[in-house]
């Protein structure tokens, strides 16, 4: 069976990143919304592909130069830590540079995914997607946490709870819990009232 041709920008970007970063000896993983989509209850759209990488002793300029040679235009949004790049065919890319022992570990324990019979890529494990999302704590990050937890996933709870405590994320988790419980109550009320209105005869016609 032949190798599937690139079907879209994501596919092309993954193949290109494998060439660019692997040839530089840089470990990288898919993060952000695309990683979350491997675990969410329902897939959502996103405008970009996020990757996290481990530079070891290299400078972020090595990545920037390598991307440029492959037609990507990039801007260093946060010096040493965050690049945003754009390619006319492969789309938008955010590159987050790891800087802690935790992140190095998260890259090392990432899962391998198949793009096709020959091309693979690595994506953050479910626990690390949740931890990173809890740290970022924006609206969409919290929505991703809710969506992933809705699947009632099997996880490494020791690892998860250790880093939640280490990063002081308990309050953020509690806040998401409160919102989820409030939403559940509202949904149940809507269902009850909707049922009542369907089952009550329309007396205005009498």
């Amino acid at each position: 069976m032949g190798v599937a041709r690139p079907i879209d920008s994501f596919d092309a970007a993954i193949r290109d990143l494998s060439n660019v970063l692997d040839s530089e000896g840089i470990s990288w993983v898919v993060a952000g919304a695309v990683a979350a989509n491997h675990y969410r209850d329902q897939i959502r759209t996103t405008i970009d592909l996020d990757v996290m990488l481990s530079l070891s002793d290299k400078s972020v300029n090595v990545v920037q130069d390598a991307l440029q040679r492959h037609g990507w235009e990039s801007v260093e949004v946060v010096e040493d830590w965050l690049l945003r790049a754009q390619h006319p065919v492969m789309g938008r890319l955010d590159v987050l540079v790891s800087g802690t022992e935790y992140e190095t570990g998260a890259i090392a324990r990432a899962h391998q995914e198949d793009l096709d019979e020959e091309q693979t890529y690595r994506t953050l494990a479910i626990e690390d997607v949740l931890i990173l999302k809890l740290i970022a704590d924006r609206f969409q990050d919290n929505a991703d946490v809710e969506s992933i937890l809705a699947t009632q996933p099997e996880m490494d709870w020791d690892y998860m709870t250790n880093w939640i405590e280490e990063f002081d994320l308990e309050e953020r988790l509690q806040r998401i819990e409160s919102i989820a419980i409030e939403r559940r109550s509202l949904t149940e009320r809507i269902k009850r009232e909707s049922h009542r209105s369907r089952s009550t005869p329309d007396r205005t016609r009498d």
């Binding site: 079907i7 879209d8 920008s9 994501f10 596919d11 993954i14 952000g32 695309v34 989509n37 491997h38 209850d41 329902q42 897939i43 959502r44 759209t45 996103t46 405008i47 970009d48 996020d50 946060v78 830590w81 965050l82 945003r84 754009q86 789309g91 938008r92 987050l96 800087g99 802690t100 022992e101 935790y102 995914e113 198949d114 793009l115 693979t120 740290i135 970022a136 924006r138 969409q140 969506s147 937890l149 809705a150 996933p153 709870w157 020791d158 998860m160 709870t161 250790n162 939640i164 405590e165 280490e166 990063f167 002081d168 308990e170 988790l173 998401i176 819990e177 989820a180 939403r183 149940e188």
Partner: protein, 81 residues
């Protein structure tokens, strides 16, 4: 490392609470199916927008700032004991 029972309880409660109001699409997903479904929802998914600085940059910067504060609190590059 001991399990933080409080956090674990929260995750379990939270998962149960959310699951009652959601429809879960089939799991696990392959890498290819994730990309295909994203493109089905929006063919321009992943392509960026006219504004180079929109999207999830704020989320990334928030993450980096929290990380910086955490590393500073730890007094180093984030190594744990």
């Amino acid at each position: 490392m001991p399990v933080n029972k409080k956090a674990l309880d929260h995750f379990e409660r939270l998962g149960r609470a959310i699951a009652r109001t959601r429809v879960v699409e089939p799991l696990p997903r392959t890498g290819r199916s994730v990309f295909e479904q994203m493109k089905k929802i929006d063919p321009r998914s992943g392509m960026g927008t006219d504004d180079f600085f929109d999207g999830d940059l704020a989320s990334h910067v928030a993450y980096i700032e929290y990380r910086e504060a955490w590393v500073k609190k730890k007094g180093g590059r984030g190594e744990t004991d």
